[in-house]
Point group: C2
Chain length 294, copies 2
């Protein structure tokens, strides 16, 4: 049995893999197509394995090494129904564990410590580890959730822009900029909104933060509402001895100045990314199995 641990971050756009030795030194990396296990399980399995094979080849090993190595795969949906177990059964690794994307992300950010991780990008979702136990909230999508997501910032901006067009709320430089983008035609704003995906709305997020920093009243209102939503979620997850809060994702930095002082005081930089979190978990699993076999 080779002493190889493979961490895999199976995401909606690609699967990334890294292979490490027993000491945790990364010696090869690989990448393949996406893993959307809930919508395309078979294809996801193929891409997960392919990313691992590439990482092994990158480290100078044969394809067959897959069947003697130990892998931890983090993927969204692993906790839905029996999807996690089904993937574990189907994968060709000697030892394998399928966990949520949230767990590898938290493991990367916090290492083995307790704390809270908030992911603020196109969506927004929060996970805490307290005395080793994981608990997550949010991440329900921008239609009825993800209050601090880029998608909601963008949707809110368009809503407030239409209110200012109707003179229900005062206009601001930002709402005027948006109206100008749509040729001052509210019908075009509506048309965009009715076909926009979360990523389309989220494209406005940087503009909202820039506006807020420049003192734009509409932008400030939107960012304050979203930051309040982050605060409420952090409070819901937090406990008296919570040692750290780590914010990840494209909007994390932009939110920092808008957070409450009690949360700012606990902010820490992520130790590593989700892929490294998967590698750490795979190395742990390898050592456990070796101890078990000894």
């Amino acid at each position: 049995m080779t002493e190889l641990a493979i961490g895999i971050d199976g995401g909606g756009t690609s699967c990334r893999a890294a292979v490490a030795d027993r000491m945790g030194n990364v010696i090869g990396r690989g990448k393949a197509g996406p893993a959307n296990i809930l919508s395309n399980l078979e294809n996801s399995l193929v891409n997960i394995v392919e990313s691992a094979r590439q990482a092994l080849r990158d480290a100078g090993f044969e394809n067959e090494t897959v069947s003697t190595s130990t892998a931890v795969i983090g993927v969204a949906g692993a906790n839905v129904g029996d999807y996690g177990k089904r993937i574990e059964k189907a994968l060709p690794f000697r030892n394998r564990e399928v966990v949520t994307d949230a767990l590898i992300s938290l493991q990367g950010a916090l290492g083995d410590g307790d704390g809270i991780v908030g992911a603020l990008g196109t969506g927004s979702v929060y996970n805490a580890r307290r005395n080793g136990t994981l608990h997550g909230i949010g991440g329900w999508g921008s239609i009825v959730g993800d209050q601090a997501s880029g998608a909601r910032l963008g949707r809110d901006l368009l809503e407030k822009t239409l209110l200012s067009y109707d003179k229900v709320r005062p206009a601001s430089p930002l709402t005027e900029k948006v109206m100008a983008e749509y040729g001052n035609d509210p019908e075009r704003v509506v048309e965009f909104a009715h076909t926009a995906r979360p990523t389309d709305f989220a494209r406005y997020a940087p503009m909202v933060f820039e506006g807020a920093q420049a003192g734009d009243v509409t932008a400030i209102e939107i960012v304050k509402d979203a930051a309040r939503a982050i605060g409420e979620s952090l409070d819901a997850l937090s406990w008296a001895e919570c040692p750290s809060i780590c914010l990840l994702g494209g909007l994390a930095k932009a939110y920092h100045p808008w957070l409450a002082d009690r949360h700012k005081a606990l902010l820490t930089e992520p130790k590593a990314d989700a892929l490294q979190g998967a590698v750490d978990l795979a190395v742990k699993l390898l050592r456990e199995r070796q101890r078990g076999a000894a």
Copy 2:
């Protein structure tokens, strides 16, 4: 030339028509399929004419009377691009005028007087007539507008239900009722929300109002937010001498107790419905043309 005036209310579910004599007495009624002029212009034209023919037959006239009568057609989208003019050209009535659904609705509710009409149903839209001039706001759809619509009440309820499931906000009898409806599975709430049309969300509106009346804190928060949005829109449209505010639509009555006193003081019952508004305008047009021809 016969002295017949036909009012037509062209709606998204059906076209209704009423034919009146020169004095405004309704002597026949008809109904046909929907008029969605922006998505299906040809079919809309057929249904508009068919509803008029039925009303004429109901009043004992021949089909050909269409070409000698005077009609006012109210239909959503009449003010978009050149749609109104295109319909006017294509219709076989001797005299015809195509106006917005908002105008016939306001004419029905207020008669010839000034005032504000708010339509509160699956959507929310406001129109004012001041010194005879029409001005409308809202009605941009529930994704980025329609803050007081049934669709928004329902969407807000689901959002707050998920927040209470995550223990970010306190639960209430209403949020617990909703969670129970989805087998206490938040994924099912999200699944519903991601395929729900405005009418699907709006089915929760009566439940929200019942909850608010019974003192449910979540329901009260949702209704108060929506009532504040109505207030802001009424303030944006109102003027010092505004004589009356008339609220129409399935949610109008339910909102009454939640409005600000300054708006409650101006509330009036609608004089008549949109179809009657179209008939009134058609009778006026008939008299004008007769005067013009005399």
